[in-house]
Every structure is written in structure tokens, then in C-alpha cells.
Amino acid sequence: MMDETQAAKPRKKHALGTRIWHWINALSVTILFMSGLNISNAHRRLYWGDWGFAAEQAWLEVPRFPGWATIPGYYSLASARDWHIVFAWVFALGLMLFMLAALRNGHFRRDLTTRWADWKPSNVWQDIRQHLKLNFDHGEGKFNFLQKAAYAGVIFVLLPLMIFTGMVMSPGMEAAFPWMTDIFGGRQSARSIHFICAWLLFAFFVVHILLVLLSNPMKQLADMISGGRDDEAA
């Protein structure tokens, strides 16, 4: 019934649920990332497998992250964990509700699914060339292939991986779901994957911000707040 009455109105470029989630997610991921850097400072080595505590088992020596990059702005494992534990809830519940909304309103199906033809190297290469030329006009559909791949990779791979590897690191959760630790190849592997995915998300963030800045940033920002209009697709 709702859909019939709303069908007459022009569709927004970004649905309300998408906008709300975008900003809640931006805030919670920022806080999780920065408090995560503080937590990383507590033990600056990464390992593969179930265990590891010394340099000879490590595959990576992680640099110490400076205070301006961490929450709180000084080293405090206890307080960084507080921030991490609170915003883990905001982040995970937010993602779950967004996913349900995006399934329901067709955002995933309409905007993020790709066809086999989209994956052809010639098409992908064409997309890359247009991006490098800073030409962001593209034909039908809201997103081009690279956008779809990046958004889907973040929403369906990186963000869920952050949640599941985070759960594996919790000994209380592990007792309930021991098989999840095995999927990731052990707790220290999960910790390594958590760290790698966090930096992949950071890389996405940098590219995302850069592309917004290169493509009419004030309008992009306004659209992500007010919703914008669908006919002038990004």
C-alpha cells in the first residue's frame, strides 16, 4: 500500500535508510578505527595461527600509532576497549538494519548487482580509464562497475569480516561459536585479518573521499544528507 502512494513521488538518489546508515556508519567506523589503533599499540606484532607472543612468531611488526590518530589521544588500552566495545554494537546493529532495509527497498538488487558482462576485462579497463580521466558521467544505472565492486566489497566482505574476526577474538563468544575460530585459521589469524581489513577500509575511505572531492563535493555531501534526486544520478 505504502509503495503505491509513494510511487508518484520522484525517487530520491539516496534512500532515507541509506543516508542514516551512511552517517552512523561513518561515525562508528571512525571511532572503531581510531580506538583500534590504540588497542594495536598494546601489542605491536601480528601472527598467523592460534597463538603467538614473541618477535620470532610474528609476520608483521606494527608501527606505534601516534596520539593524534587514536582514541583516546593517549595510550589507554582500557579506555580504547571501552570505545571499541560500545561502538561495536552501533556498527554491527547499524549494518544489520541497513542490510535489511536495502534488501527490502531494492537498493542492493537495483544498484549493487552486476551482470557477467560487467566483469569483462575490456569493460573494467574502460571504467578505470574513465575514472583516471576524472570523467564520472556514465550511462544507465546509478553506479558504474568500479563503484559497485567497491561498495559491494565493503558492505558484503570487509564490514562483515570486521565483525566476525572481532567476534573470534572474544573468548566468551568463542566458547559459544568455536567453529568460527577454525574458519579463520585460529585466533591470531583472525586478529591479523581484523587488522588487514581495517586498513583496507581505510584505503576505501581515502579513495571515497578523494572521488567525492573530485566530483562536485558540496552537492555530493548535500545529497547524502537530503537525499538528492534520482534523475541526476551520480
Binding site: 597463538w51 579506555s79 576497549r81 566495545i85 560500545v86 573468548p171 566468551g172 566458547a175 585466533r187
Partner: protein, 247 residues
């Protein structure tokens, strides 16, 4: 230039805001709420069975078991006990129990033993696997007879860190859990001093700081409020670490 100043200003305001919030009372309350949600979820998910920490094969133990926190107790009476092989070491069971106990190492070894190869996860992020042996805490508590109204178990320790006695606590669910043992052997040998000689609690579903070393006393209480700093453990009192360390 203006835009950059704006961004730097925004960043600084964000960090200042975080500090302001982090220091506030309501954020502390929010953290406590989030912590109890996590605990509730962990316990609910494991409700249909007794959720057990994973156990490993003996071949998977780490070649060396790292010690953290207190590595050497450095007290005269502890050193005397250690040098004598802990023959006169006693661990008391007191508080809300029918029969207060005083157990020697011989008493501990005479009880039915549980051996488990488990992974120890430090709050800092590292892990080590070891084989621990000792009686289940539930067995000791049954001997003493836990009284109605006992909600927490306090663990008293011989070591002092930064001028305060180390102690820890857990609720009755964790106390009665089959993997909660009072360990006297690590990988088949008496515990090294850095790992808590002669007795260390194993609380396998929580992080390392909930596994107190150099055990001297087990105390049943109704509330944590009047114990030391009131937050249920040394690190909880000193630095604000979460009491529930299952995450």
C-alpha cells in the same frame, strides 16, 4: 588554506569531544551497559549447553609460556615458601561458606584432577597455548558448601603490583564452569614463578588478567562493592579494565 584549517579544527573538536565524553559519567554507564550486553549474548548463545573454551592437542602447546604482569613476587615470605617447594603453602576458602577450608598443596593434588590444553589470551592481544592441571573450583566450592546469597568469588593473591595487592573475581556461572580449575601444573610441571607458582586460577572463557596467580585465598561474597576498589579486580580498580573480560 581556509578549508584545511576548518578540517584541522573539526578533527581537533572531534578528539576533544571524544575526551570529554570518555571522561563523563554517562559514558561510563554506557560502557557498563554494553559490557553486560556482550556478557548476556555470550551466555545466551551458550545456554543450551555448557559453552566450553576450545581445547587443543598436547602437541599444540607453545614452546614457552609467556609471563606477564608480576613475573617475580619478590617478597620474603613468598621466596621462603618457593625455596621450600611450597610445602607449607595454604589457600583458604572463606566468606559465605558452611565450612571454611585451609587447603595445602597436598590437599589440592589429592582432589580429582582436570587436565586441559587451552589458549591463554592476553588483553594486549597475544596468545599462548598451555596444558593446565588441577582440581575444578566447583569441587572445592562444593566441599566448603556455598551459602545462599553468595554471588561472586574473590581470588586473593600473594603478589603486589604498583603498591596494591592483586586480586580478581568472577560470578558463580564462571566459578562452577567445568573448565575453571585451580592449576598447579603447567605442561606437566609445577608452575614456574612467572606463571603463578604454586597455584593459578584458570578462567578459560575470559582474558588473561582474570586468571590470578600466586593464589592464597578464595572468598565468597554477595557483592563486589566493599572489596578493595569495588570494581572486582586489580586492573579493574587501577585502570578501568572491564570486569567481564569475555571480549
Amino acid at each position: 588554506m581556509k578549508r584545511r584549517n576548518f578540517l584541522v579544527g573539526m578533527g581537533a573538536a572531534f578528539l576533544a569531544g571524544c575526551k570529554e565524553i570518555g571522561d563523563s559519567k554517562w559514558f561510563g554507564a554506557l560502557v557498563d551497559t554494553a559490557e553486560s550486553w556482550h556478557r548476556g549474548v555470550h551466555r545466551t548463545l551458550g545456554v543450551s549447553r555448557i559453552a566450553m573454551a576450545p581445547e587443543y592437542d598436547r602437541s599444540e602447546v607453545s614452546p614457552f609460556f609467556r609471563g606477564n604482569g608480576t613475573q617475580e613476587v619478590g617478597k620474603e615470605d613468598y621466596n621462603a615458601h618457593r625455596d621450600a617447594g611450597f610445602v607449607d603453602w595454604r589457600v583458604t576458602v572463606s566468606g559465605l561458606v558452611d565450612t571454611p577450608l585451609e587447603l595445602s598443596m597436598e590437599d589440592i593434588r589429592a582432589l580429582p584432577q582436570r587436565t586441559q590444553v587451552t589458549r591463554h589470551d592476553c588483553v594486549e592481544g597475544w596468545s599462548a597455548i598451555g596444558e593446565w592441571t588441577g582440581p575444578q573450583l566447583s569441587r572445592i566450592l562444593e566441599m566448603a558448601g556455598v551459602q545462599e546469597g553468595a554471588n561472586y568469588v574473590i581470588f586473593r593473591c600473594a603478589d603486589t603490583l604498583n603498591g596494591a595487592d592483586y586480586y580478581e573475581s568472577c560470578d558463580m556461572d564462571d566459578a562452577m564452569h567445568p573448565q575453571t580449575i585451580v592449576a598447579h601444573l603447567l605442561n606437566g610441571e609445577p608452575l614456574p614463578e612467572r606463571n603463578g607458582a604454586p597455584l593459578r586460577l584458570r578462567l578459560e572463557r575470559q582474558l588473561g588478567y582474570k586468571h590470578p596467580k600466586y593464589l592464597t585465598g578464595i572468598e565468597l561474597v554477595a557483592s563486589l562493592d566493599d572489596i578493595e576498589g569495588g570494581k572486582g579486580g586489580y586492573w579493574e580498580d587501577r585502570s578501568g579494565y572491564q570486569w567481564y573480560a569475555g571480549i
